[in-house]
Symmetry: C2
């Protein structure tokens, strides 16, 4: 039988602070993007990754990995983005299972329109609150949280 190692008070506080802070920041940015640009943050992330890719295109599976999404989620998301004309799908000739997601000019324009407001929001709810020392440490800590190889 395994005895649960419950969280002590300090751990409780630490955990709830992390959870609440990250929720708060994410919700705030999601709301800002939805309100000002009519897209959730997940869609914004897709557009960003595509815009940074060579020829503004990526395989669906690569794109999913880049934006930290399941294939299913991405597939639905790209379907919506396609409806808006912001992304286009292209079947790969070499391997017909693969499809490429391609950022259209309209998609790039939508991203360009959304970006300034979003960056400003990120500054307000994140960077402007932290000094360089804190920022550096937070980055390190987050890197640690990410490093452990998923099971």
């Amino acid at each position: 039988m395994i005895v649960t190692r419950w969280l002590d008070d300090d751990e409780q506080r630490a955990w709830r602070a992390f959870l609440t802070a990250s929720q708060l920041v994410q919700e705030e940015l999601d709301r800002q993007l939805q309100r000002d640009s009519g897209m959730p943050h997940a869609y914004y992330a897709v557009l960003v990754k595509l815009s940074e890719a060579p020829d503004r295109m990526l395989r669906m599976s690569e794109l999913a990995a880049e934006v930290n999404s399941s294939q299913s989620r991405l597939s639905h998301a790209v379907a919506r983005l396609e409806e808006r004309g912001w992304v286009r799908r292209e079947r790969c000739a070499a391997d017909k299972r693969v499809s490429w997601a391609v950022l259209t000019d309209e998609g790039f324009a939508a991203l360009a329109a959304a970006a300034p407001g979003h960056v400003e929001a990120v500054r307000q709810s994140f960077f402007d609150l932290l000094d360089p020392e804190q920022l550096h440490r937070l980055t390190e800590i987050c890197a640690v949280l990410l490093k452990r190889t998923a099971p």
Copy 2:
């Protein structure tokens, strides 16, 4: 005209690390709870807060504030929890607009059953990865992110 203060490379890294780390941790725990206990993390949080409240009951609006949720979201959530018999609603006699959410014995039992596995998961994806120094700093930083009064 306002000139956008774009993020420099360090800022990009910091921001993406924070976003990715917090998403990863949250998704992991959400998945764990859903898989092992059939509830999303948001519902678990509701049960926890109720279990800690005097008489295991809270007004809907207080509960919403405690779990960082909109009233609408909480109302839907409590409706689902009520269907499962984990929470019960009681109209307040003094102010009939108010309703109390009350944790039932079944709800408490469900929480008790879910907690050990969840705590273990939190250890694995959070505490076990950080040393005490990092934990302390992270808590401070998250407190800063939370402190700014929402507009």
